[in-house]
């Protein structure tokens, strides 16, 4: 069973075994507006939690993609790179961005905690 966590940086993390699938939340996608460019870390890149590893650019602004965990990028969603508008269409599903193999999960937000954050 996959468990979904959230970060203060408006990302979601679906954990399955030692693989974390990372995307941005519907709230973040809505705030960004139409996404026109997505830059993701290279396959095999080592990422550190809290560090900027990519960009999500809309017509109006630039959002940063933060690595939510320490680990190694094992998959990139090339479909989203080719069609960035997917981020607006299905941010919590088909428009996942990267998969990271990790050893330890840091403290993350629950769905309820994240919801509270976005309504504050």
């Amino acid at each position: 069973m996959t468990e979904v966590h959230y970060t203060k940086d408006h990302e979601w993390i679906a954990v399955d075994g030692d693989i974390a699938t990372v995307g941005i939340t519907a709230y973040a996608a809505e705030k960004l507006g139409d996404v026109v460019y997505v830059d993701l870390p290279a396959l095999g890149a080592t990422v550190a939690a809290g560090r900027v590893v990519g960009e999500i650019e809309s017509t109006k602004s630039v959002g940063e993609l933060f690595a939510p965990v320490d680990g190694e990028v094992v998959e990139r969603n090339e479909a989203v790179v080719a069609d960035p508008a997917m981020v607006n269409g299905d941010p919590m599903g088909g428009a996942w961005l990267i998969k990271v193999r990790f050893t330890e999960l840091p403290a993350l937000l629950t769905a309820a905690e994240y919801e509270e954050l976005t309504q504050g």
Partner: protein, 365 residues
């Protein structure tokens, strides 16, 4: 405007709602705090809204704009003295783009002056500069026999923009122009006093999108009914995000970006608006790049690796599909065709100086 995502507004006081706020909430708009006003930033997709204005008819709530009614026997002479350019040379029923300059020539605001009558002018200023415009006009009115009324609170502004704007307005049953005036008789940068039902409305053929269109000024209390009629007539609500990419493609300056207190008119290519014509050391230019990554306000412009300018506005152009930007660059790097680069967060993206505007509508009507 914003160049990074700040999901939680930093404002510490509640922004003022538009007279159309309830309409926007019901339409599911996303809002932004713009110059102290809570205004719709988009209703759905800002790209779709941009496209609507380029191909159909978009509808904008611009009730945040500042309006002043200037009247009296000295009205024209007062505006001649207070603003750059000659308001007295504007024919009745016409309008002119103008600037409010500080004593040292810096730009306090850019505005549009409409002449309603021999002794009546409608002056429209940016929301962000409402207070400084009100104070400066009040200060400069000494010695002139004029009335100066701040109409900002009372008035709403609905703008219908796009190639089908005229068609939409012609389908508006309540809108009546005084004989013999017609919508087609209002030229670009013209204005007519009309009525919408019982309410007086100013119908101006102006805009900030690069398309044909009309701006309708009327009492705030009548705005929700007008808005509903415009939507029923085929206008599609559009937010300020689309308005910003539209005006950027049209090469139109935005106060706070291309124009500031430190900008001289000649640098911004507005020397013809004012009499101050000393050459500037830096010049406002258009830049076009390739790929999908846009230069944003504040990013450095490079020539052979050296910083020679700064971006004031930039986006991936929805209409053209390439990154475009307006920037101030050193005068010797401003010739059309000059190869420069944008420092996009550490990556140098090649960009070329191009003629403004980036986009011009096909000549019609």
């Amino acid at each position: 405007m914003e160049n990074s995502v700040s999901p939680v507004p930093a404002s510490n006081r509640d922004p003022r709602p538009s007279p159309l706020d309830a309409v926007h909430v019901a339409a599911g708009a996303s809002f932004t705090d713009f110059a102290g006003w809570k205004m719709p930033v988009r209703y759905g997709s800002d790209l779709a809204e941009h496209e609507t204005v380029r191909t159909g008819a978009g509808l904008f709530d611009l009730s945040h704009m500042a309006e002043f009614l200037v009247g009296g026997t000295h009205a024209a002479a007062f505006l001649d003295a207070a603003l750059a350019g000659r308001a007295s040379a504007i024919a009745v029923g016409r309008a002119k783009y103008s600037l409010l300059l500080a004593e040292d020539g810096g730009i306090l605001d850019d505005l549009v002056v409409y002449r309603l009558g021999d002794q009546r002018f409608w002056v429209v200023a940016n929301a962000a500069n409402h207070d400084v415009v009100a104070a400066t006009l009040a200060e400069r009115r000494t010695d002139f026999d004029v009335t100066l009324d701040d109409e900002t609170e009372r008035s709403a502004l609905c703008a219908v923009q796009g190639p089908r704007a005229r068609e939409v307005l012609s389908r508006l049953p309540g809108l009546v122009l005084p004989e013999p005036r017609t919508l087609d008789g209002i030229p670009y940068y013209g204005i007519a006093e009309a009525t919408y039902g019982e309410t007086p409305v100013l119908v101006a053929r102006t805009g900030y999108t690069g398309e044909d269109g009309f701006e309708l000024y009327l009492d705030a209390s009548a705005a929700p009914a007008l808005w509903a009629d415009l939507v029923a007539a085929g206008a599609v609500p559009c937010g300020l995000a689309a308005r910003d990419t539209l005006r950027l493609e049209a090469g139109m300056p935005l106060y706070g970006h291309e124009l500031t207190r430190a900008t001289r008119p000649v640098e911004a290519g507005l020397g013809r608006i004012s009499d101050l014509a000393t050459p500037g050391a830096r010049v406002l230019v258009g830049l076009a790049a390739e790929g999908k990554r846009a230069g944003r306000a504040g990013y450095a412009v490079l020539r052979d690796g050296a910083v020679i300018g700064e971006v004031t506005s930039g986006a991936l152009s929805p209409t053209l599909g390439i990154p475009i930007a307006m920037a101030y660059v050193d005068a010797d790097a401003s010739a059309v065709g000059t190869e420069l680069a944008l420092d996009v967060r550490g990556t140098a993206i090649p960009a070329r100086v191009v003629t403004l505007p980036f986009y011009s509508r096909k000549a019609v009507s």
